[in-house]
């Protein structure tokens, strides 16, 4: 299993789901596993330079109580999702690719994306890079 990458299809663009994905990527990278992240739709939109530090809201199930708890964690010093991912990328091998279809649908150009994103690829390239490793959809 160690030789196979962890592959994350990151679709969601809310801060809690992005943080969850960043934590999963961090753990795998800490163990020396290669991580491939494929950005689709709202996750891709969140990686735009002009959106990455913006307030992106939470998943609907968070509700008022969840929003309060997440806000308290941030006030207590929890890093935002993109900082978690940046640290993991510095310490491990994490490749982040934008889905070319989502780029077209959302009218995003490569220069619009934050430097965390390594490139643009199609779904077939994603599967080829994924090999026999696990695939998570978040």
């Amino acid at each position: 299993m160690d030789d196979e990458p962890l592959n994350i299809v990151l679709f969601s663009g809310t801060e809690d789901r992005l943080q969850a994905a960043a934590v999963m990527a961090s753990g795998a990278a800490a163990l020396g596993r290669k991580v491939n992240i494929f950005l689709q739709y709202w996750a891709l939109d969140a990686f735009r330079k002009d959106r990455i530090s913006a307030s992106l809201g939470l998943a609907p199930e968070a509700g008022e109580r969840g929003a309060t708890l997440v806000r308290e964690a941030a006030a207590a010093g929890q890093q935002p999702w993109h900082a978690t991912l940046r640290v993991a990328k510095e310490l491990g091998e994490i490749d982040i690719q934008a889905c070319s279809l989502s780029m077209d649908v959302l009218k995003i150009e490569e220069q619009d994306l934050d430097a965390l994103v390594d490139g643009v690829e199609g779904v077939t390239a994603f599967y080829l890079n994924a090999g026999d490793g696990h695939i998570l959809f978040i």
């Binding site: 800490a30 163990l31 020396g32 964690a73 207590a76 010093g77 640290v87 310490l91």
Partner: protein, 78 residues
């Protein structure tokens, strides 16, 4: 006898997996034989860090629960 601590990382303000990531960074920057102490107040570190240390081939010197945080001491072995 416990080896002398060459570096202490105060990661008490970090949420999971922050303390582990700070330890990994410190180990990369250290020499073989250096001993690093991590202070962590998150619930996962005292479980996760020893497992990571074992997997990464380093040496767990000890874990001590202090006042509101855990001190995890690791020697870089390779």
């Amino acid at each position: 006898m416990a080896p002398p601590i060459s570096r202490t990382i105060d990661a008490r303000g970090s949420f999971c997996p922050g303390p582990l990531m700070e330890l990994i960074r410190a180990i990369k920057e250290s020499e073989v034989g250096d001993t690093i102490a991590v202070w962590s107040a998150d619930k996962g570190s005292k479980i996760d860090i020893p497992k990571w240390v074992d997997k990464a081939g380093h040496t767990l010197v000890g874990i001590e629960t202090k006042d509101g945080y855990d001190e995890i001491v690791v020697t870089k072995a390779r």
